[in-house]
C-alpha cells in the first residue's frame, strides 16, 4: 500500500526544549560512561549533544508508518563546541518521510531533525534521527 500523507507536516515543529545549563558533573558522567576524550577544560565531548533529552521524543501527528520500527541511525553536523554552563535549546521537526524498497521489501523512513543552539544563538548541532518502519 502506498504511503500517502499530508505533506504539510514536513518541517513542522513538535518539540522545543530549553535545557538546564550544562554542568561539569554531567560532562564527567558522560565521559566516564562513553570513554570519549575531553576536548579541553570546560568543554564537553562533541557527542555530548546526544545526551540531551527532549521533552517529546516523537511527533503526535504522524501517518501510519507501520507497526515495527528500529533506529536507523543518526547524521550529526557539529557546530560550536558545548561548554560547561551553556544553556542549550533543542528544537525538533519532522524533517522527512519517505519510502524505499530493498532486498527485504518496502521500508518507510521517518527523519526527525533536532537543531541545537546555545545561549548566544550559535548553532551547536543538527541531528537527523532516522527511524525505519514496516
Amino acid at each position: 500500500m502506498s504511503l500517502e500523507f499530508d505533506r504539510s507536516i514536513i518541517g513542522s515543529e513538535f518539540d522545543r526544549t530549553q535545557n538546564d545549563p550544562v554542568t561539569q558533573d554531567e560532562v564527567d558522567a558522560y565521559v566516564a560512561a562513553c570513554g570519549e576524550p575531553v576536548a579541553g577544560p570546560g568543554l564537553a565531548p562533541p557527542m555530548f549533544v546526544l545526551a540531551l533529552r527532549s521533552e517529546r521524543f516523537m511527533p503526535e501527528n504522524l501517518p501510519n508508518l507501520g507497526r515495527a520500527a528500529f533506529d536507523a541511525g543518526k547524521d550529526i553536523d557539529l557546530g560550536s563546541p558545548i561548554r560547561v554552563g551553556d544553556r542549550l535549546l533543542s528544537v525538533s521537526t519532522i524533517h522527512e518521510i519517505y519510502e524505499k524498497t530493498g532486498r527485504t521489501g518496502t521500508m518507510r523512513f521517518l527523519v526527525l531533525r533536532t537543531t541545537v543552539t546555545n545561549q548566544d544563538e550559535e548553532l551547536v548541532a543538527v541531528i537527523d534521527q532516522k527511524m525505519m518502519f514496516r
Binding site: S2, Y98, E99, K100, T101, G102, R103, T104, T106, F109
Partner: protein, 217 residues
C-alpha cells in the same frame, strides 16, 4: 572508454560519498581503476540544477547523471533524464510501473536499464519468475559491485534467455567502492546523449576490478 554507470553520492539518503572525494579517490587509484567517468544515479530523485562541470575540469573525469527509480519489477537505472521524463514520472514513487518506465523513457529519448537483476525483491530475475518479461528492455546491469554472492551469477541466464546487452556498475555508496565494477565501451562517450546511444546500440561489456584491488591490498 571505461565508465562506472552506477554510483550514489551524498545526495542519496543512504550514501556518505561527496562527489569530489570520488574523483580524488579515482585519481589516486588510477593505475588500479582506469575509470574515465562516473554516472551519478541518485535514488528516487532528479535535480536538474546540479552542475559538476568544474569538478570534471579539475579532475579530468567525466561526470554524467542519471537516476535509480523503484518499480514493480525492481530498481531501474534511467539514463538521459530530461524535462519530459522528469515530468512524466514521480521519481519518489517506489511503485512505478516498470513497463511504463521502459517504454516512456525510451520514447522520450533516454534508456531505462534494470539494475542488480539478481537481487531478491528488487531485481528483475525474481519478478520474471512469476510475471511476463518486460517489453523493450535493451540492457541490464550484469555486474553490480554491491551484489551479494550469487546475485550477479543469476543474471547470465536472464541475459542469455532474453538477449539483453549487459553493463557493470559499482553501485557505490562509499568512496572506496567507486569503480570496482564498471563498463568498457568501444565508443567514446562524451555526454549523456552519447551514453544513451551507445547503451542502446553500441558495443560494451562489464568489467570487474575487485580482484585487482584485492591483490594490490
Amino acid at each position: 572508454m571505461i565508465l562506472d554507470l552506477h554510483t550514489h553520492s551524498e545526495a542519496s539518503e543512504d550514501s556518505r560519498a561527496p562527489v569530489e572525494t570520488y574523483l580524488k579517490w579515482l585519481t589516486k587509484k588510477r593505475e588500479l581503476l582506469p575509470i574515465d567517468g562516473i554516472v551519478l544515479t541518485e535514488h528516487r530523485q532528479w535535480n536538474p540544477d546540479v552542475d559538476y562541470r568544474d569538478l570534471e575540469d579539475k579532475y579530468q573525469i567525466l561526470i554524467l547523471r542519471g537516476a535509480e527509480v523503484e518499480t514493480d519489477y525492481g530498481h531501474i537505472l534511467v539514463y538521459g533524464v530530461n524535462d519530459d521524463i522528469a515530468q512524466r514520472f514521480d521519481f519518489t514513487n517506489v511503485r512505478l510501473s516498470a513497463q511504463e518506465v521502459v517504454h516512456e523513457v525510451a520514447r522520450m529519448g533516454g534508456v531505462a536499464a534494470p539494475c542488480h537483476p539478481g537481487r531478491p525483491t528488487i531485481g528483475l530475475c525474481e519478478h520474471y519468475a512469476s510475471r511476463p518479461a518486460l517489453d523493450g528492455v535493451v540492457t541490464v546491469e550484469a555486474l553490480n559491485g554491491g551484489s551479494r554472492r550469487g546475485e550477479n551469477e543469476r543474471v547470465q541466464e536472464l541475459i542469455d534467455k532474453h538477449g539483453y546487452r549487459s553493463f557493470g556498475g559499482s553501485d557505490s555508496h562509499l568512496v572506496s567502492f567507486v569503480g570496482i565494477c564498471a563498463t568498457e565501451f568501444e565508443d567514446e562517450v562524451r555526454n549523456i546523449d552519447e551514453l544513451v546511444r551507445v547503451l542502446k546500440a553500441g558495443t560494451y561489456r562489464p568489467v570487474d576490478y575487485r580482484d585487482r584491488l584485492k591483490q594490490a591490498a
